[in-house]
Symmetry: C2
Subunit: 188 residues, 2 copies
């Protein structure tokens, strides 16, 4: 067993809870029950809830990017990469109607500590940067400003599709919305 076993268990449980019920609904007592320790013990690892939320978002961003980059290495072309990106958000939705951590945190923005807000911005920046890189592969004639805006557009549109489909509790809604994005030309 690694030294940080309990800490990692707390983070894993917390991530899953936030993705399905949101950060505000995350309870140290529920978290303690899940992991098998008392709520006061969690404060040993994460002094405050804001601290936990920030660590959570940071790790989530890193894991997400690692996954995307692994996928990129095996991807035949940029169009395939963008579609795989969209599939990740679809899969999250299928798994218990969960949401992207960055998206659900953005919705709760006003209540968040500054440390979490910074991590949400980092998540956004790094994913948009990844998308920009992919778009550039197949559109080298485009200037960087247009590419970055396009990447931002795809990022926001996918977040929105997930949000709305989740609100309807229906993955088919996600698929219909993505059809529209493709027809319009926002997605390849």
């Amino acid at each position: 067993m690694a030294l940080t076993d309990t800490k990692q268990a707390v983070m894993m449980a917390a991530r899953s809870m936030v993705q399905s019920r949101g950060y505000n609904s995350l309870s140290y007592r529920d978290l303690g029950k899940e992991v098998g320790i008392k709520s006061s013990s969690i404060h040993y690892y994460f002094p405050s809830k804001g601290n936990l939320g920030a660590a959570l978002t940071h790790e989530y961003t890193d894991d997400f990017l690692s996954y995307l980059n692994e996928m990129l290495a095996a991807s035949p072309n940029w169009k395939h990469s963008i579609n795989s990106y969209a599939d990740v958000f679809r899969a999250t939705l299928v798994r218990d109607n969960r949401m992207c951590l960055g998206g659900i945190m953005a919705a709760e923005h006003t209540d968040l500590d500054v440390e979490i807000r910074n991590e949400v911005e980092r998540f956004t920046e790094l994913l948009v940067q990844w998308l920009t890189g992919v778009l550039q592969q197949g559109n080298q004639e485009m200037d960087s400003t247009t590419l970055k805006k396009w990447a931002f557009g795809i990022f926001a549109a996918i977040e929105g599709a997930q949000l709305v489909a989740r609100g309807c509790g229906d993955v088919a809604v996600y698929d219909h919305i993505l059809d529209a994005y493709r027809t319009a030309g926002l997605l390849p």
Copy 2:
């Protein structure tokens, strides 16, 4: 003074609070302080928080649609109507980084009572229906399935743009994303 003065005051305060901090962060005690009564008194008007949330979303939907239809009557063409629609979401963002009630509720979906979930779906359906009607004005050659998907796409994309811009705490992000939507052809 109307008979339902207090009730309306509760709803107005609650709507504004939810749009800025979310439904989960809405507190009956804070609400009571705002209106000038005790938290237990609010239960006289709204037996449960779910009840209040549902009433809130229902009224929000009706008000939103009334506004959109008034705007429609004064609008020169469908493209102008769609852009005005996008401006409403922009204005909400500018006013204290607020969010669309339907969007923020969708993010908190898992925690919501069924009565609220139904109202969130009603909001989505009616707004998409409104958008479909507007799109039809200028695209009569399109079949109704394509039109409805397009409307759904616009609805989700705007919600997403608002969500992401809110997460960044920057209206300029909203503008950039909408530029991308227009360049791609998702928005006219």
